[in-house]
């Protein structure tokens, strides 16, 4: 009886730990690619990211991904001044944050050391 209780409590502890682990930020491949490009180029527009990714990022999804990354704190953005002569909306420039750079380093480290096949 006691062993069953211990077993149940250990399982519950594991489940609790698992749920705590799920709050650790993840870095999906597209977000990693965006961070790589932003680290290389310092500041880019959404459209420039699409062009620089050579087809890996689409203009219909890149802004959604950028919005999500900004929420996570991986990137920061600022509005450029609106073009005075042409009218239109001011463009938004994106930049990798210090936290995003650390996340990218950690991701690269994992790829390099834990999944050697992918790193090749």
């Amino acid at each position: 009886m006691i062993s069953v209780l211990i077993d149940i409590s250990l399982t519950l502890c594991k489940i609790r730990l698992m749920s705590a682990q799920s709050s650790v930020p993840t870095l999906p491949p597209k977000q990693a690619l965006i961070l790589e490009l932003l680290v290389e180029e310092s500041e880019l527009y959404g459209l420039q990211l699409v062009e620089a990714s050579k087809g890996k990022l689409k203009r219909g999804t890149v802004y959604v991904t950028l919005g999500r990354m900004e929420e996570k704190g991986f990137i920061t953005s600022r509005l450029e001044k609106a073009p005075a002569d042409e009218g239109g909306l001011p463009r938004r420039l994106y930049k990798a944050s210090a936290y995003g750079r650390r996340a990218l380093d950690a991701y690269a480290h994992v790829v390099r050391h834990l999944t050697p096949r992918l790193a090749r």
Partner: protein
């Protein structure tokens, strides 16, 4: 829009942004829509500056497609409960319509005339199924949507417009489309044009018959006209009634009990229409007037609404 050399230039995406402003809140527009449109306008202007007219047109088209992709994604994420409500309401509508059609088809004798014409039979029964599923799916959708969202002016307006639209659809459907569908169904089953029964009369013809003839008299050897016209009216106002039930349920602080009351009421409402038979109504007529029997599903909904409103 800007003026260049006396010419008015419309930037691509201006109208799309106006649409987005009606659909999304400001943070979503700032974060997702504006950056996309700003890049589109820049790219478009660049192509025009270089004199590449076709390139600029192509950019406008691809930009428009990209906008709708972003808008669809933003809608699903930002209006998650709205999306869930639409999905659940449509699923419920499909299931209830299918059940309503199956109930009628199960009681329809297979004749030579109907062989190979099942698609037509189902098509003719669709309005009947829709008449029952419309109030339920509206109530279910509104309940799921509004119980998890802030009741701001936009949501209140949308709910009100949905209720008005559903009422209008119900009036047209139960008044004219259902009788026409029933008539076509009967003719197909019999294999020839048949005299129209009480379920094949439009609501105006039914009303005329009620006032000209004896309202208590049985038509088609079954139930009196007064029952049928009241049943038709009860089903017509049901979308409004069940929508009010959903709104009362959504505003009740006891979320679980409200959900139980709303779902039970909707189930009872559906069962009343799906499972009843003229024989059951004839039995009930021994204890209560035919007109009152027709209003039982609506009365159940009204009582549930009152109980929820008192809790709120």
């Amino acid at each position: 829009m800007t003026c260049q050399g006396g010419m008015t230039v419309t930037h691509p995406g201006t109208r799309l942004r106006a649409i987005a402003a009606r659909l999304f809140d400001q943070p979503t527009i700032d974060r997702l829509i504006d950056p996309m449109i700003a890049d589109l306008q820049f790219e478009h202007a660049e192509a025009l500056r270089d004199g590449r007219l076709w390139r600029s047109r192509w950019i406008a088209v691809t930009g428009c497609i990209a906008f709708w992709k972003v808008a669809a994604h933003a809608w699903v994420v930002e209006q998650w409960h709205g999306t869930l409500a639409i999905a659940v309401a449509l699923s419920a509508a499909t299931v209830i319509t299918a059940l309503a059609i199956l109930v009628v088809l199960a009681n329809t004798p297979a004749t030579v005339g109907t062989q190979g014409k099942m698609a037509w039979l189902i098509l003719y029964l669709l309005p009947q199924g829709f008449a029952i599923s419309l109030p339920i799916c509206l109530a279910l959708g509104l309940f799921i949507w509004l119980r998890n969202e802030r009741a701001d002016a936009w949501r209140q307006r949308t709910a009100l417009w949905l209720m008005r639209l559903a009422l209008l659809l119900a009036i047209v459907n139960t008044g004219w489309i259902v009788p026409a569908g029933n008539n076509a169904f009967r003719n197909l089953v019999v294999g020839a044009a048949t005299p129209r029964g009480v379920n094949e009369l439009t609501v105006i013809e039914l009303g005329t018959r009620l006032y000209q003839g004896s309202p208590g008299a049985a038509v088609d050897g079954a139930l009196p006209t007064v029952f049928w016209i009241n049943a038709r009216l009860a089903l017509t106002i049901a979308p409004m009634l069940l929508a009010v039930l959903a709104l009362a349920g959504a505003r009740t602080p006891r979320r679980r009990s409200a959900a139980i009351v709303v779902l039970t009421t909707l189930t009872v409402f559906a069962a009343c229409y799906l499972l009843y038979s003229p024989d059951d109504v004839a039995v009930l007529m021994r204890w209560m007037p035919a007109a009152a029997i027709a209003w039982i599903p609506d009365a159940v909904a009204a009582l549930a609404t009152i109980s929820l409103a008192r809790q709120a």
